[in-house]
C-alpha cells in the first residue's frame, strides 16, 4: 500500500493515466500541486504566460492527437482566465481536463482571497465538473474526469481542488483506478439497426443525395470508414468547418465545406438535394442559414452520438443515435450486398454539380497584379504549396480563418484546427504551440490576423522558454477585417472601431524575443520568405504579410436566405 498526499496523488495519477504534458500557471491555491510536480519528472509542465493560453494549448493538442488536453491553474483569477478556453473546447466538443486550485475548504463561501466559485462560473460551458471533498477521493475523481472528457460526445471537465485537499502532511492510500463506472452515464455506441437499415434503403433510392459530415467524424476517428462508404455509394460530400479533413478535400466527390462561407457547389447541392445524410454534424446556424428555407426538398438522415443534437434546429426524418464509426461500418456492410437502383439519377445529379463547379471555376478571387497589395487567398495557397499540404494548421478568427479553410486543402483529419463554435480570437497561436510541443517533426502553421495575434502574443515568451518552433503567418490587413466586411455590407461602410490603429512593428516585437520575423509586402517577396521560413521545422518564424485591406470573404450566404442565397463577389449574387 502506498501513502501519498493529495498533491502527489495528482502528479502520480497524471503519470499513470499516460499524460506526458500539462499546461498551466501557478498560484497560492495550486502550490502544493506545483511542489509535487517539481519532485517528479514523468509529466512535463509547460508554463504559459496567461491561463487562457494554457487551455488553448491543451485544446490544440487534444484536437491534433484525439487525447484529452490537461490544464492546471490556480484559484480565482487563474481559473477565470481559463474560462474562455474552456468555453472554446466545450463548443467544439474537445476533450479537456482542467484542474483548478481552490481556497481551503474552511474558507469557501467567505469571499476569501482569490476565491471564485469556478464550478458555478463554468457550469454552462463544461461537460461536467467535480469538487474534491476528501484527498482520498482524488484518484477516482480524476479518473472519472478523464473518462467523461474523452468518451461519448467529448468535452471539458473541471476539477475544483481546495488547497487543504493537497496538503503535504495528509497522506492516504493511492491506487490507480483502471476503470470507473458512472451509473448515470452510458454513452451509446451502436446505432439502432432498424433505423440504419431504413437510412440505407433511402440512400440506395435517393436521386440527389449529399453527405454532410462534421467534427464527429474527426473526433470519432471515422474518416477512413466514411471515405470507404462515400466511395462505394458515389455520392457527393460536403463537410462542416469542424469536419474539414474528415474526408480528403482533393477527392473528386468532395464539394469542400458548406455554410456561410462554404463553397458555391456545396451550398447549391445541399439546397437541391432530395436526401441529406448528416453524420456528426449539428445543423448549426452558420451552416443552415434560415432554417425555414433550409433544403426544401430534402429528407434528412441524422446520425449523432448526442441525442440532443438531433432535431434541435432541423427536424430529422431518420434519427440515429450512435457513434459515427460504428454506424458507418454498419452502413457499409448493408451497402455491400445491395444493388443501388439510382445509378442513372446519380449521373444526372453529378452533371448538375459539375455545372455548379464549372460556374465558379477560376472566379473564386482575383489574384493581385504586379504592384498591387497581395491577396490573402494567394498567401494561403503559397503556404499550402510550401508545406506540401501536410502541415498542422491552426487559425485565429476572422477573414484569415475563412481563407485558410478555403484555400489550404486538407487530405487528413486532425490537421485543420480552428475555433469553430465559439470563434475565439487568440486561439490560434497557443493552440499551435500545444501541437508543436507534441509533434516536433511536423510543420505547425498558425494563420492569424494582426487583431487576433495581439490577443495572445505574450505566448512568444513561452515559445522562447520551451523552444517551440511554430510558423506564424500574420495576414496583416491592418484592420479587424471580418468586422469591417460586415460593416461594408450592413452598415454602409461605417467602420466603427474595426481599424487596428497604432499597429506595432511586428518584426521588432518578434526580434525582441530573439525570433526571426520577415515582412512581406509584394508577391515577389512571398516565395523566398516562405522558403526561408520553412527551412528549419524547429525555428519559430513570424511572417508579417501585408495583404489587401479591402478584400472580402466570398461566397457569403445572404442573411435570412436559404442555402443557395449567396453573395459571390462584391458585385455578383445568386
Amino acid at each position: 500500500m502506498e501513502l501519498l498526499s493529495g498533491a502527489d496523488m495528482i502528479a502520480r495519477f497524471l503519470k499513470d493515466e499516460g499524460v506526458e504534458r500539462i499546461y498551466g500557471y501557478p498560484g497560492g491555491a495550486a502550490l502544493h500541486i506545483y511542489d509535487a510536480l517539481f519532485r517528479q519528472d514523468s509529466v512535463q509542465h509547460i508554463l504559459v504566460r496567461h491561463e487562457q493560453a494554457a487551455t488553448h494549448a491543451a485544446d490544440g493538442y487534444a484536437r491534433a492527437s484525439g487525447k484529452p488536453g490537461v490544464v492546471l491553474v490556480t484559484s480565482g483569477p487563474g481559473a477565470t482566465n481559463a474560462v474562455t478556453g474552456i468555453a472554446t473546447a466545450y463548443m467544439d466538443s474537445i476533450p479537456m481536463v482542467v484542474l483548478c486550485g481552490q481556497v481551503a475548504s474552511h474558507l469557501i463561501g467567505e469571499d476569501a482571497f482569490q476565491e471564485t466559485d469556478i464550478v458555478g462560473v463554468t457550469r454552462p460551458v463544461v461537460k461536467h465538473s467535480f469538487s474534491i471533498r476528501h484527498p482520498s477521493e482524488i484518484p477516482e475523481v480524476l479518473k472519472k474526469a478523464f473518462y467523461l472528457a474523452s468518451t461519448g460526445r467529448p468535452g471539458p471537465v473541471v476539477v475544483d481542488i481546495p488547497k487543504d485537499m493537497t496538503a503535504p502532511t495528509e497522506r492516504y492510500e493511492y491506487v490507480y483506478p483502471k476503470k470507473v463506472k458512472i451509473r448515470s452515464y452510458n454513452p451509446v455506441t451502436r446505432g439502432h439497426s432498424g433505423q440504419i437499415k431504413k437510412a440505407v434503403d433511402m440512400m440506395l433510392k435517393a436521386r440527389r443525395p449529399v453527405f454532410y459530415t462534421g467534427g464527429g467524424i474527426v473526433t470519432g476517428r471515422a474518416s477512413e470508414a466514411l471515405t470507404d462508404l462515400v466511395h462505394r455509394l458515389g455520392f457527393p460530400i460536403t463537410t462542416t468547418l469542424m469536419g474539414i479533413g474528415g474526408y480528403p478535400q482533393g477527392d473528386q466527390q468532395s464539394l469542400g465545406w458548406l455554410g456561410m462561407h462554404g463553397s458555391y457547389e456545396a451550398n447549391m447541392a445541399m439546397h437541391h438535394a432530395d436526401l441529406i445524410v448528416a453524420i456528426g454534424a449539428r445543423f448549426d446556424d452558420r451552416v443552415t442559414n434560415n432554417t425555414s428555407k433550409f433544403c426544401p426538398t430534402a429528407k434528412i438522415v441524422h446520425v449523432d452520438i448526442d441525442p440532443s443534437s438531433i432535431s434541435k434546429t432541423v427536424r430529422a426524418d431518420v434519427p440515429i443515435v450512435g457513434a459515427a464509426g460504428s454506424v458507418i461500418d454498419e452502413m457499409i456492410s448493408l451497402v455491400q450486398d445491395r444493388e443501388a437502383s439510382n445509378a442513372e439519377a446519380l449521373g444526372e445529379w453529378w452533371k448538375s454539380i459539375e455545372g455548379w463547379r464549372a460556374e465558379r471555376e477560376g472566379k473564386l478571387y482575383e489574384p493581385s497584379k504586379p504592384g498591387e497589395a497581395l491577396k490573402p487567398q494567394e498567401v494561403i495557397e503559397a503556404v499550402y504549396r510550401a508545406t506540401r499540404g501536410e502541415a498542422f494548421v491552426t487559425t485565429d478568427v476572422g477573414q484569415h480563418q475563412m481563407f485558410a479553410a478555403q484555400y489550404y486543402k486538407f487530405a487528413k483529419p486532425n490537421r485543420f484546427i480552428t475555433s469553430g463554435g465559439l470563434g475565439t480570437m487568440g486561439f490560434g497561436f497557443p493552440a499551435a504551440m500545444g501541437i508543436k510541443l507534441s509533434y516536433p517533426q511536423d510543420d505547425v502553421v498558425c494563420f492569424t490576423g494582426e487583431g487576433s495575434f495581439q490577443m495572445m502574443m505574450q505566448e512568444l515568451s513561452t515559445c522562447k522558454q520551451f523552444d517551440v518552433g511554430v510558423k506564424i503567418v500574420n495576414l496583416n490587413n491592418q484592420s479587424l477585417g471580418m468586422v469591417r466586411q460586415w460593416q461594408d455590407l450592413n452598415y454602409k461602410s461605417r467602420h466603427a472601431h474595426s481599424y487596428m490603429e497604432s499597429l506595432p512593428d511586428f518584426a521588432k516585437l518578434i526580434e525582441a524575443y530573439g525570433f526571426t520575423a520577415i515582412k512581406v509586402t509584394t508577391f515577389d517577396e512571398l516565395e523566398p520568405a516562405l522558403e526561408r521560413a520553412f527551412a528549419d521545422t524547429n525555428e519559430l518564424v513570424f511572417l508579417d504579410i501585408y495583404v489587401d485591406p479591402f478584400e472580402h470573404v466570398y461566397p457569403m450566404q445572404v442573411p435570412l436566405g436559404s442555402m443557395r442565397d449567396m453573395l459571390l463577389s462584391k458585385t455578383e449574387r445568386t
Binding site: H128, R183, S308
Partner: protein, 163 residues
C-alpha cells in the same frame, strides 16, 4: 402544453444547480419545481412542470438526460399519472368570514391547521387546478399569504421510476 417531468438525481452538491441552470441557459421555462430525497439516500427526486411544444419538450428531456447527475427521468404527462401539490394559505378570519372560510375549506376538503382570533391557516392538497380554484374562492375573503410546494407526481399502476 404543460408537462410534468420527474427526475431521479444524484444527491450530490451542485446537482440541483445544474438542472436549474440548464433551464435558464437554454431558455426553457419552469412553472414549478419540487425536490426532496428519496428512500435511497443517494438519490433525490425532482419534479418540474414546464410548458412547451413537442420540440421544446423533446429538447428539455434530451438535455436533462445529458446531465451526468441525472440518473433517470420520465415525462409523467405521457401516461396516466397522479399529480399532487400541497398549499398552505393564511386567510383573514374575522366575523362572518370565519364561517365562510370554514365552509369553503370543507367544500374543497381542506383542513384548518392553525387558528388565531383573526387568522385561519388552511392546508389543502390536490392537483394544481384544484389549488388555483381554492385560491380564487378565498380571494374575496382576503388571502394574507400563500405557500405552495410545487407539483409532485407519480405514474399510475405498475409503472416505476426507479434504478
Amino acid at each position: 402544453m404543460r408537462h410534468i417531468i420527474s427526475i431521479l438525481l444524484e444527491n450530490e452538491p451542485g446537482a440541483l444547480s445544474r438542472v436549474v441552470g440548464l433551464f435558464s441557459q437554454r431558455n426553457f421555462n419552469i412553472e414549478t419545481l419540487n425536490v426532496a430525497p428519496t428512500e435511497d439516500p443517494s438519490l433525490s427526486r425532482l419534479t418540474v412542470t414546464t410548458v412547451g411544444d413537442d420540440r421544446v419538450i423533446e429538447q428539455i428531456t434530451k438535455h436533462l438526460n445529458k446531465l451526468i447527475d441525472v440518473v433517470k427521468l420520465v415525462d409523467l404527462t405521457e401516461g396516466n399519472h397522479i399529480e399532487r401539490e400541497l398549499m398552505l394559505v393564511k386567510v383573514k378570519a374575522l366575523g362572518a368570514a370565519r364561517d365562510e372560510v370554514k365552509r369553503t375549506a370543507d367544500i374543497f376538503r381542506a383542513q384548518i391547521v392553525d387558528v388565531t382570533p383573526s387568522v385561519y391557516t388552511v392546508q389543502i392538497t390536490g392537483d394544481a387546478g384544484k389549488l388555483d380554484a381554492f385560491v380564487q374562492a378565498m380571494a374575496p375573503i382576503g388571502i394574507l399569504e400563500v405557500a405552495r410546494t410545487g407539483v409532485s407526481g407519480i405514474a399510475r399502476g405498475d409503472k416505476l421510476l426507479s434504478l
